[in-house]
Structure formats: structure tokens, C-alpha cells
């Protein structure tokens, strides 16, 4: 019996040793490969006030290679048109004159934007989803999840593509009061507000929110909001109200078009004002 136990012990030791050795080998292989981590995108805060066209273009490049994950597909491996190498200004014009093109874009900027927010609108030949006969693009809609690029970010990417190919950058810098502000309904075509209070009055936030002691109760009370949200979250709450919903309130009540209507400086003033609440 004793000898038997000893034999068992030996078998245990040698099989265990063998197994552990093998495990170690696998671990080693995993550790000698290049170590890359996939960072979650961080919403970098861009100081729109100090933005120059150069920094806007490099923001676009950064987004293109980073948060936008464009290089995942747009590279030299043939998964998607290699738009980094192709001249996208010329390509866009070619696409627009293609007989298959049915979209609504008339210039390079519009074509590039359309490619990003409505990829299936026009699918580059042979790159469509398998079996869709080039009617469906595998490219994600960039202003939807999982990418969720904002309009400003999309503009930056367009600026990057235009500038890399020597074209004229036609997208407007977001610092200048965007053209849409003029036709903004809530503002009634008024000039940009001069102060936070004025902006809040202009956009009628008090209709739904209690701010500085007065206002409605359709939305959350914003007195003391700074304790709950930081500048970035406040900005998101205003520009993408449905991204995060305040507890106890319904989706879709808060207007979603402030991002288009407000000028950058207005947004900043409102956020600053709320931070002081």
C-alpha cells in the first residue's frame, strides 16, 4: 500500500509538472508578443475658443486614428478604400459624377459627411456587405453608437481629409458662430447672447428647469446641479440630452437641437453659469 501511494505520488508529481510546464509555455508565448492595450476613447475637451484651423485639422487626424477607429478598416489591407492614401478631394468628385450615385451631396465636403453619417447612401463598388450587392455598407454610421462622433468631430475629420489632400478646407471652424445659429428658431434669428443668463433666456431653458430660483418643473431642478455634473457632463446634457437621462425624467422631452442652435461661446457661458449654481 505504501509503495502504491508512493507511486501515485510520483505520477502526480510528474503529470503536474508536465501540465504546469505546458501552461508556462503558453504564458510565455502570450508575454513575448507585442503588448498593446485598447484604451477606451476619452472625450477630450477641446477649447473651442482657442481653436485654429491647424489644430482643428490635427484634431481631425487624431480622431481619424483614435476615437473614430477609421484606420481599423481604412488601411492598406483592402478592407475598405484606403482613404488615407487616396486623394479624397478628387475621389469625392469622381463619386459624385458616378451614375450609381443617388445621394444629395453636391460638393466634396457634403460627400465626405454623407459617407460618414449615411454610409449606405452610396457604397463604393465591391466594398458592400457580403450578399448585399453593394447596397449596404459595412461602415458604421459615425454619429451613432458605438462611435458616437459629434458634429464638431465629424467636421474636424472632414477638415483633416480635405487638408491632407491639398484641398481647400471648406468646413467652418466651430468657434465662429455657425451659420445655423442665424436660422435658429428658438433664437428667432437673434444675435448670439452676451451672457449666460441671456443665453438661458434666449433658449427658454427656464420653461422646463428651475434655474436661479425661477422656472418650470418639466425637467430637473438645476439649482445646485454643479454638485452632480461637471463641465463636460453638463455640456453633454445640453448637446446630447438623450445620452444620459436624469433619473425620474422621460426621454425625448428636452430638445435635442441645442447643439446646432447654440454657438460655441453660448454653450460655454451656459455651462459656466450652471457650474456656479
Amino acid at each position: 500500500m505504501m509503495e502504491r501511494n508512493r507511486q501515485r505520488g510520483n505520477v502526480l508529481l510528474s503529470t503536474l509538472g508536465f501540465s504546469l510546464g505546458l501552461i508556462l509555455l503558453f504564458t510565455m508565448v502570450a508575454n513575448i508578443l507585442p503588448q498593446v492595450e485598447g484604451e477606451a476613447p476619452v472625450d477630450s475637451e477641446v477649447d473651442l475658443g482657442a481653436l485654429t484651423m491647424d489644430s482643428f485639422v490635427s484634431l481631425g487626424e487624431e480622431l481619424f486614428r483614435g476615437k473614430g477607429t477609421c484606420t481599423l478598416c481604412h488601411n492598406n489591407l483592402g478592407r475598405a478604400p484606403d482613404i488615407l492614401v487616396m486623394n479624397m478631394v478628387d475621389t469625392s468628385s469622381e463619386r459624385l459624377s458616378d451614375t450609381r450615385y443617388q445621394g444629395g451631396a453636391a460638393d466634396v465636403e457634403a460627400y465626405l459627411r454623407e459617407s460618414m453619417i449615411d454610409p449606405s447612401g452610396y457604397v463604393v463598388a465591391s466594398f458592400g456587405k457580403k450578399g448585399s450587392d453593394d447596397t449596404e455598407s459595412p461602415m458604421p454610421t459615425v454619429n451613432k453608437a458605438p462611435l458616437n462622433l459629434s458634429d464638431i468631430e465629424i467636421d474636424a475629420i472632414i477638415a483633416f481629409m480635405q487638408s491632407k489632400d491639398g484641398g481647400e478646407v471648406t468646413v467652418a471652424l466651430p468657434t465662429e458662430a455657425p451659420a445655423v445659429a442665424e436660422e435658429s428658431a428658438a433664437g428667432g434669428g437673434a444675435a448670439p447672447a452676451e451672457s449666460g443668463e441671456a443665453a438661458i433666456a434666449k433658449y427658454g431653458c427656464s420653461a422646463c428647469h428651475l434655474i436661479s430660483g425661477s422656472g418650470g418643473d418639466l425637467g430637473p431642478d438645476l439649482s445646485g446641479i454643479a454638485a452632480r455634473l461637471d463641465a463636460q457632463q453638463l455640456q453633454q446634457a445640453i448637446t446630447e440630452p438623450n445620452a444620459v437621462i436624469a433619473e425620474g425624467f422621460a426621454v425625448g422631452l428636452m430638445p435635442t437641437d441645442f447643439a446646432n442652435k447654440m454657438t460655441v461661446s453660448e454653450l460655454k457661458m451656459v455651462v459656466d453659469l450652471l457650474l456656479k449654481q
Binding site: 501540465s19 504564458t27 508565448v29 503588448q35 498593446v36 492595450e37 485598447g38 481599423l72 478598416c73 489591407l77
Partner: protein, 605 residues
């Protein structure tokens, strides 16, 4: 009772089971009870509540326990999955072995099946233990996420609980009823219990798979996560069935490999020829199960990846071409280990019969092909390279190795390895027999022709599509190759089945006549399988990138990044070693009860 009662009962049980699955599932069209019940619930609850979007946790919503929450959940979840896989897989092939025993009237099958079940039984409690711990860990560490998941799957929890109860019930009655219901009609009752056990177990797995696939590719909800579909629509996302199939097959391979190690250990520790013979046979059977289940696994993997690409190309590329791509080198090492070990075991096993001498000459060629393919498979290519790596290689593709590294070359390699493994397997199966059918030589010629045609086709498709056409068509080659391999396997099984149906065993195998060294293959297999499973868990979870529920609920925890392969490898090693320790415990317990049963004098006789 009339003799056929139990058999009739079995038929009824199967019929009712099939009917209820179809009826409850309601996928066959129209509303079923399940669907309409939840639809009614929605009406009663009213639209506003039903349309509540997914909460978005902020960093502060995750409790900080000092160590990485993800690491904790990772270990516990993986342990639960390892044991769950074992517990689900073993009864599947045990029922198969039991049926074999019934058909052949050979009691050895029955005894072996019973012994396998013993392992499953102890493992079951451990599975439940880790399952409970996992639930607690998730609720404590990811409260917002779990809250939402409970809201989405709420109705299903009851079903899960019932299934769990059924699984327990059938497991215990099946195991403990073994000797009481051993012969005659009672055997049919026992088999029905086994079938029900598998039915409950599989359904349980499908239900819990739906949680994971919902997180990867949610369905039945709006863009912001408000529930609009019924529970069936939520479960039946695009990845559900591919994952179901993949896990089903992989579990069998995994379970076979683990019990193989048990047999290997007992063989090495055995002292009497009878003991050695028994465990040699058991080890061989386990290896057979593991490899036979393993061969189609890559094809299930193809399907899963194809569905991932169809769901989101971005997710597909993140897995196959993004930062996770390195992982497939490690995967190649693991699968190479598995195939080499399995082949080595088969070749060593040929010493059991004289009849194998005929085939001895093939082995070195098979071995050579497998090793060559293995090397090609491991050659890296379309991966992210750092600037210095690119400079060192003189371009992003190595000029000699480059062409070998691309996907079609790898596909040639993988498919040839699978074919060679099947060939080893087929030669082994034939080695103790002599075909007696009149068309034996014609059958052989046909088989050789099929092998040659398939191999030529695989190489041609790979080379032609890989090097002479536009990249877009490269994917097309893999389908041809996969079909060729499948045809070899299927026609091989069919032709041999017919050819050797009534063949006489000319060179009976002498069980136990095999080297000690060959038994180590039975350890390499489960170790590599376990590690591989852990590694694949890392990819499955990582393709979601920084989302808890892809596109719907962001992961804002400190762990919302994809860890590097080295870290993942260390984690996988940690769980594999833990699993090893627990498995040793399970074996020890299984052994304990056996020592009372088998008297040494009897074993010697």
C-alpha cells in the same frame, strides 16, 4: 407492465420535449404562450415604463474594492464556465456510451459511463458554487449594469430557476439510479432520465448564453436600451445560435479531454494489467470524444465570426485584425499543441494491435505535414507592427515569410492539419480490422481519390485566391477549403462505416499495451483546451471594447480598456491553474468512492 412501457415512455418524453420547446420558443411563427404572456405584460405596464432607456453608469457607480473588479469577475466567471462546460458535456457522451453498452450488451461500457458520471457529479456542486459567487460578485461590483440586465431578462429568471432545479433532479436520479435501473426495461427509464438531464442542461446553457450574446449584439431594445421586444426577441440576437453551437461542440471536446486526463492518471498509477487495460480503454475513448468533437469546432468558429462580421464589421475587425489579432498566434500554438498531442496519442496507440504495421509508413509523412502546417500557421503577417518592427522587416510584410503569413496560407495549413488528424484517426480505427466487403478495394480507391481531390482543392483555392486575385475575394477561398475538409471527414466516416460494418476483428487490440509516455498526451490535451477556452473568453468579452452592452451601455469603470495579451495570458494561466487544482480535488473525490467499490482481489482476477 407490458414490456414496451418504458420504451414508449421514452418516446413520449422526447416528443413532449420537442413539442414544448417549439411551442414555448414560438419561433415557428405566431405568438406562443411565452411570447404573448410577455407581450401582455408590456401592455399592462404601459408604454412609458417599457420605454425606459438603459442607465449610463458613471465612474462613481462602480464600487472600488482595491483590486480590479474585472479581474475578480474574470476569475470567478471563467471557473464557473470551466466547470459548467464539464458538467454539461460529460452527461452528453455518457448517455452515448450507455446506449453503446445497451446495443452491444457489453457491461464495460456501462461501468465506464458510470465512472465518468461520478466526475460530473462532484463537479456539479463546484459549478453551482462558482455560479452563486459569480452572481454575487456581479451584483456587488457592477450594480447598475446588473440592475438593467435584470430588468431586461427579468421574466427569464424564473425559467432559469426551474431549469436549474430540473437539472439537479435529473442529475441525481440519473447517477444514483444507475444500478437500480440497470437492466431490461428499467434501462430505458434510466436512459430517459439521462436524456432529460441533457435536455435541461443544454437549455440551461442556451439561456445563459443569451446573456453574453445580448451584451455583444443586443436585440429587442431601442438604440438607447429601452426594451421593446419580448423575451424571445431579446434572447434571439444575431450571435445567439452561433455561440450556442460553438459552446455545445467545444464543451464536448473539453469534457472529453478532462476525463481523458483522469484516465491517463489512473493508467499511470495502475499496477495490475486489468487496471491498465481498463484505463487505457477509458483514455482512448475520452481522446476519441475530444478529437471527434474538436474537428468541426473551427467550422463553428467560422460561422460565429461570419455572424460577428455581418452584425458589425467593426467588431469583426477588432477581433481579427485590430489589437486582438496577436492573440491568434497564441491560439495557433494552442491548437497546434492539441492536434500534435492527439495525433501522437493515436500513433502511440497503434502499438495495441499488430494490424497497424500496415500503416506505420504513413505516420512520418503525417507528422511532417502537421509540423510544417503548424509552422506556417504561426507565421505572423497582417498584424499591427511597430515602426521599428517594420524597419527590421523591411516593409510591413516580410519578403519571404510574408506570403506565408496571409490568411489563405493559414487556411491551407489549418485545413491540412485537420485532414491529417482525421487520417491518423481513420488509420487507427482501421488497424485492428480487415474489411470483408467485396468492394473493399474500390472503397479504398474512392477514399484516396477524395483525400487527394480535397487536398489539391484546398491548396489550389488558397493559392489562387490568396495570391492571384483582389483582396476582396480572399475570404471566398475559405469556404471552398472548409467544404473540402468537411467532405473528407463525412465521406470518410460513411465509407468506413459501411466498409467495416461486419468486418471481422483480425488483430484484436490489446488494451493496456501502450507506452507510459503516450499518456502525457492525455494531459497536454485538457491543459491546452482549458487555456484555449480561457483565451477565447478574453476575445469574446473584449470585442465589446468599452461597452458593457455594445452600443447601448458604456462601460465607465476603471477597467474599460482591452487588456494587453500578456496580462490576459497571465489571467488565463491563473484560472487554468486554479481549475487544475479543483479538478484534482474532483478526481480525488471520485477516486475515494471507488476505492470502496473495487476489491483488489477481484481486479487481479
Amino acid at each position: 407492465m407490458k414490456p414496451l412501457t418504458y420504451r414508449t415512455l421514452l418516446l413520449w418524453v422526447v416528443a413532449v420535449a420537442i413539442f414544448s420547446v417549439g411551442y414555448l420558443g414560438g419561433d415557428l411563427g405566431g405568438d406562443s404562450i411565452w411570447n404573448s404572456a410577455s407581450a401582455m405584460e408590456r401592455l399592462v405596464e404601459g408604454e412609458e415604463i417599457a420605454l425606459k432607456p438603459a442607465p449610463q453608469p458613471t465612474r462613481g457607480d462602480y464600487p472600488n474594492i482595491g483590486v480590479s473588479s474585472r479581474a475578480v469577475v474574470w476569475v470567478v466567471a471563467q471557473m464557473h464556465l470551466f466547470f459548467g462546460a464539464l458538467v454539461l458535456a460529460v452527461p452528453m457522451f455518457v448517455v452515448g456510451i450507455e446506449i453503446m453498452g445497451l446495443k452491444t450488451g457489453d457491461d464495460r461500457y456501462d461501468d465506464m459511463a458510470h465512472e465518468f458520471m461520478k466526475i460530473s457529479l462532484t463537479a456539479y456542486s463546484i459549478t453551482a458554487l462558482f455560479g452563486g459567487t459569480l452572481a454575487i460578485a456581479l451584483f456587488l461590483l457592477y450594480p447598475t449594469f446588473m440592475d438593467y440586465m435584470m430588468g431586461v431578462f427579468g421574466a427569464q429568471m424564473l425559467v432559469y430557476a426551474v431549469l436549474f432545479f430540473l437539472e439537479t433532479f435529473f442529475l441525481y436520479t440519473y447517477y444514483y439510479g444507475w444500478d437500480a435501473l440497470r437492466y431490461g426495461n428499467k434501462k430505458w427509464l434510466h436512459l430517459s432520465l439521462g436524456l432529460m438531464l441533457n435536455g435541461a442542461g443544454l437549455t440551461l446553457m442556451f439561456v445563459s448564453n443569451s446573456w453574453a450574446t445580448f451584451m455583444m449584439a443586443p436585440s429587442g431594445i431601442t438604440d438607447v436600451g429601452a426594451v421593446v421586444g419580448n423575451i424571445w426577441e431579446i434572447m434571439k440576437g444575431p450571435l445567439w445560435n452561433p455561440v450556442n453551437l460553438h459552446r455545445f461542440i467545444a464543451n464536448i471536446a473539453f469534457g472529453g479531454a478532462v476525463v481523458g486526463a483522469y484516465a491517463g492518471f489512473k493508467f499511470l498509477a495502475a499496477r495490475t494489467p486489468a487496471e491498465k487495460a481498463h484505463y487505457d480503454w477509458m483514455g482512448y475513448t475520452s481522446n476519441f470524444i475530444a478529437i471527434f468533437a474538436f474537428l468541426p469546432l473551427p467550422f463553428a468558429g467560422y460561422w460565429l465570426m461570419a455572424e460577428v462580421y455581418a452584425y458589425s464589421q467593426q467588431m469583426g475587425i477588432t477581433a481579427m485584425g485590430g489589437i486582438l489579432a496577436w492573440l491568434f498566434i497564441v491560439q495557433a500554438v494552442l491548437i497546434g499543441t492539441i492536434l500534435l498531442a492527439a495525433n501522437y496519442y493515436l500513433w502511440s496507440g497503434m502499438s495495441r494491435t499488430e494490424g497497424s504495421k500496415r500503416y506505420q509508413g504513413f505516420i512520418k509523412w503525417i507528422a511532417l505535414t502537421i509540423v510544417l502546417c503548424f509552422l506556417i500557421w504561426m507565421t505572423p503577417h497582417t498584424l499591427l507592427l511597430s515602426a521599428s518592427e517594420i524597419a527590421a522587416l523591411g516593409g510591413s510584410h516580410h519578403h519571404i515569410l510574408g506570403p506565408l503569413g496571409i490568411m489563405p496560407a493559414k487556411n491551407i495549413a489549418v485545413n491540412l492539419m485537420l485532414i491529417m488528424t482525421f487520417l491518423s484517426f481513420q488509420l487507427y480505427r482501421r488497424s485492428d480490422k480487415e474489411a470483408t466487403v467485396s468492394w473493399a478495394s474500390m472503397g479504398n480507391a474512392l477514399l484516396v481519390a477524395i483525400y487527394i481531390a480535397a487536398i489539391v482543392n484546398i491548396i489550389f483555392a488558397g493559392v489562387y485566391y490568396g495570391y492571384f486575385t483582389n483582396t476582396v475575394y480572399k475570404v471566398g477561398s475559405s469556404v471552398t477549403q472548409v467544404v473540402s475538409t468537411l467532405i473528407v471527414i463525412i465521406s470518410g466516416v460513411i465509407i468506413d462505416g459501411m466498409m467495416y460494418k461486419n468486418a471481422k476483428v483480425k488483430y484484436p487490440a490489446v488494451w493496456g499495451r501502450v507506452t507510459n509516455r503516450s499518456q502525457y498526451a492525455l494531459f497536454a490535451l485538457p491543459v491546452a483546451f482549458t487555456w484555449l477556452m480561457g483565451l477565447m473568453g478574453y476575445v469574446r468579452s473584449s470585442v465589446k471594447t468599452h461597452w458593457h452592452i455594445y452600443t447601448v451601455m458604456k462601460d465607465n469603470s476603471p477597467d474599460n480598456y482591452i487588456p494587453a495579451i500578456g496580462y490576459a495570458g497571465n489571467m488565463v494561466t491563473l484560472v487554468t491553474v486554479l481549475f487544475l487544482i479543483f479538478v484534482l480535488f474532483v478526481f480525488w473525490v471520485a477516486n475515494l468512492s471507488q476505492q470502496k467499490q473495487v476489491k483488489p482481489q477481484e481486479a487481479e482476477a
